[in-house]
């Protein structure tokens, strides 16, 4: 590699590194737009166990076996293939060619062959995924909330990965022929790209060099582009799933979080409170993402939009508007929007999450059955957000369905959600019929 290429490489590395760093800063800032109070109740041991089993081990994916296996192939491929990035980066900076070849035969060519094995796995999986997404009738991949960008995003990632994988194989195949021509140092055969040699055997030496170099650049630039792209995409789950699972709660799913602020209010009202009660919050419940916890927003950024939640939601299955996936997508979109407005110094209070993104019709349809929470492969909890929105509707906006207001009035006056007199509570055993 000549010094100009070396210079260009280092420049690109710094350039993309800078953009990536900026995006990470913005996303971190957006996540921290949420309330700071959340802390998982899980013990450190449980958190590590979850990290190993659910995040690294993808245990919750295996409820659906085919996508789980295909996903596992891409996931393991992603990790293994990226080892080669180290070599590419070293070559780029130092101007060397296949620096790891110092390992010599058979170590180096076996190493590359193993990588190629995963390249082939990823390639197969991506093609099947592309087919599934576009040609098979899988309801959760065709929901209305996916119209437009989310579907394009999902397909783009798959096409992107296919191009990257083909780039590696082409690069390696042309490299092998150039080795036969004694143009490049010999490494020994690479198992998979070895089969592709006949495709390029009639190319001139010059075109082979161009081919090899071009795909080397396609590969590294592709990866740098991908890294930046991911921060705008549902694909961010490849990084954020890990902290998201680590910070997830392990209390019984039926338990809803206590609002300490309300306990304080009640204690104050009853004259039970000590002097040092916390400031009341600026708002009870959630109208906007700034009322949610940082964990809720982290979940939104971690969501891969797979739609397993929506596919088991009883409200959604029966045709109601509520879709837990859409709740997560809305939280993310709104967080990005507020982030952008903050960067421009604009006021973001003209719109809000509840009202402009999520309607009350959606949040009122939830049965709090926890099917979505149970189903999520990375422990996202859409129910928590729905309840926070209901709390806003009840406590701040007084905008509940009228039947709920009567139910609550009954509780207040009769200590029962139905309109029965308190004195009749013991009738079932006192006035036996």
């Amino acid at each position: 590699m000549n010094p100009i290429q070396q210079f260009l490489f280092i420049f690109l590395l710094i350039f993309f590194g800078y953009i990536l760093l900026r995006r990470i800063t913005i996303i971190k800032r957006n996540i921290l737009l949420g309330e700071k109070k959340y802390k998982t109740s899980a013990k450190k041991k449980t958190r590590l166990k979850n990290l190993i089993l659910i995040a690294f081990g993808q245990s919750k994916m295996f409820k659906k076996i085919l996508p789980a296996v295909l996903h596992l192939m891409i996931y393991s491929g992603f990790i293994i293939i990226n080892i080669e990035i180290i070599e590419i980066i070293l070559d780029g900076i130092l101007g060397t060619h296949r620096i790891f070849n110092v390992l010599g035969m058979p170590y180096y060519n076996v190493f590359i062959s193993v990588i190629e094995f995963f390249v082939v796995l990823v390639l197969i999986s991506c093609v099947i995924f592309l087919f599934r997404r576009n040609f098979m009738k899988i309801d959760r991949l065709r929901s209305p909330e996916l119209k437009g960008w989310p579907i394009v995003d999902a397909n783009l990632i798959l096409v992107f990965e296919i191009i990257l994988m083909l780039a590696i194989l082409t690069m390696n195949a042309s490299d092998l022929i150039l080795q036969d021509l004694d143009r490049y140092n010999s490494t020994g055969n690479f198992y998979f790209s070895g089969f592709l040699k006949p495709l390029f055997i009639n190319f001139s030496e010059m075109s082979l060099v161009i081919l090899e170099r071009t795909f080397w650049w396609v590969h590294i630039i592709g990866i740098l582009l991908f890294a930046v792209y991911v921060t705008y995409s549902k694909h961010l789950h490849i990084f954020l799933a890990f902290p998201n699972i680590y910070h997830s709660d392990d209390q019984e799913k039926g338990k809803m979080n206590n609002m300490k602020s309300i306990t304080n209010e009640i204690e104050m009202m009853m004259g039970l409170s000590s002097e040092n009660v916390e400031e009341p919050p600026k708002r009870f419940g959630a109208k906007d993402i700034t009322d949610l916890s940082w964990k809720n927003i982290l979940e939104a950024y971690s969501c891969s939009e797979c739609g397993r939640c929506t596919s088991v939601c009883p409200a959604n299955i029966t045709g109601k508007k509520l879709s837990p996936r859409k709740i997560m997508m809305d939280v993310r979109d709104r967080s990005e929007e507020i982030g952008k407005m903050k960067d421009k110094g604009l006021n973001h209070n003209d719109k809000s999450l509840l009202g402009d993104y999520i309607s009350t019709e959606e949040i009122f349809a939830c049965t709090s059955c926890n099917a979505c929470v149970e189903e999520c492969p990375i422990n996202i909890n859409p129910l928590d957000i729905i309840i926070e929105c209901r709390r806003y509707a009840a406590l701040e906006d007084s905008n509940l369905p009228p039947e709920w207001n009567s139910m609550m009035q009954n509780i207040e006056t009769n200590f029962s959600p139905w309109k029965f007199p308190i004195d009749d509570r013991s009738n079932w055993f006192k006035k036996d019929v």
């Binding site: 209390q251 029966t318 349809a365 049965t367 926890n370 099917a371 509780i411 036996d432």
Partner: protein
């Protein structure tokens, strides 16, 4: 039917083994009152000393909390906790998974710490101790998981154990346990009309039930009972399919 209030126990200087938390449905709903009576007659049959709060019991606040009214929930909770603590209650048994979840998981933070068990867990313990003995029947039963018992509190086996002790004919629906489909009542839905859609959630569940075509659908929750009952009636299946709480099936087959 022998039922004593906690006050009667205290007045005669006695302490009950358990407090039976009846719940609003168990106290007021005509259909569910029958379940209450079945459970009580099992308790009496096994000579278990239990007390009820009587008129001092009040809604746990679950529907208020799920509808977003945290204030009303906490007021209800404080009221109930004051009563329960006044009587030094240690162990509570309840038939309602919503009461169960609230008492067990949500009251401790507000100062109410008790050993709370669902009646299916309680009966299952008695079964395993060999105290609860029933005749085998050959009715074909399917079990509908309550969300607040199942996913909400991971209680899947106790109700199934009980059913298996009654009948060798337990047929599961496709959507069961962790994948069980909600009856449509939770999250305060039972207290209002549902939002517009293609089908009511309980009728979607009836389709699951029809696939199995059981003699009896066993439930373990008053809300599920109402929803499944309504669905069965709406589909004119009420002559064919019975909807019963597990404790009712046990009571019918108690061995003397």
């Amino acid at each position: 039917m022998k039922v004593k209030t906690i006050n009667e126990f205290i007045n005669s200087n006695q302490k009950p083994e358990i407090l039976f938390w009846v719940g609003c449905a168990g106290s007021y709903d005509d259909r569910y009152k029958k379940v209450t009576k079945s459970f009580v007659s099992i308790l009496n049959h096994l000579r278990i000393d239990f007390a009820v709060l009587g008129d001092e019991e009040g809604c746990t606040g679950d529907p208020a909390r799920r509808a977003g009214n945290e204030y009303l929930f906490q007021m209800q909770a404080l009221n109930n906790i004051t009563n329960l603590n006044k009587y030094n209650i240690e162990k509570i048994v309840t038939m309602c998974p919503h009461c169960f979840n609230t008492l067990k998981n949500e009251y401790p933070e507000l100062g109410g710490k008790y050993d709370v068990v669902h009646h299916t867990e309680f009966l299952n313990e008695l079964l395993e101790e060999g105290r609860l003995i029933s005749e085998k029947t050959n009715i074909k039963i399917t079990y509908h998981d309550s969300c607040y018992l199942g996913r909400g509190n991971k209680i899947y086996e106790a109700p199934r154990n009980l059913i298996n002790s009654l009948s060798e004919n337990l047929h599961e629906m496709k959507r069961k346990k962790e994948n069980g489909l909600c009856c449509g009542a939770g999250g305060s839905q039972i207290f209002k009309e549902s939002e517009s859609g293609n089908i009511e959630i309980n009728l979607e569940r009836i389709n699951d039930i029809q696939e199995v075509n059981p003699d009896t659908v066993a439930v373990a929750c008053p809300f599920c009972m109402t929803m499944i009952n309504d669905g069965v009636k709406e589909k004119n299946l009420d002559k064919k399919i019975n909807v019963k709480d597990i404790s009712e099936i046990i009571e019918e087959n108690l061995k003397n």
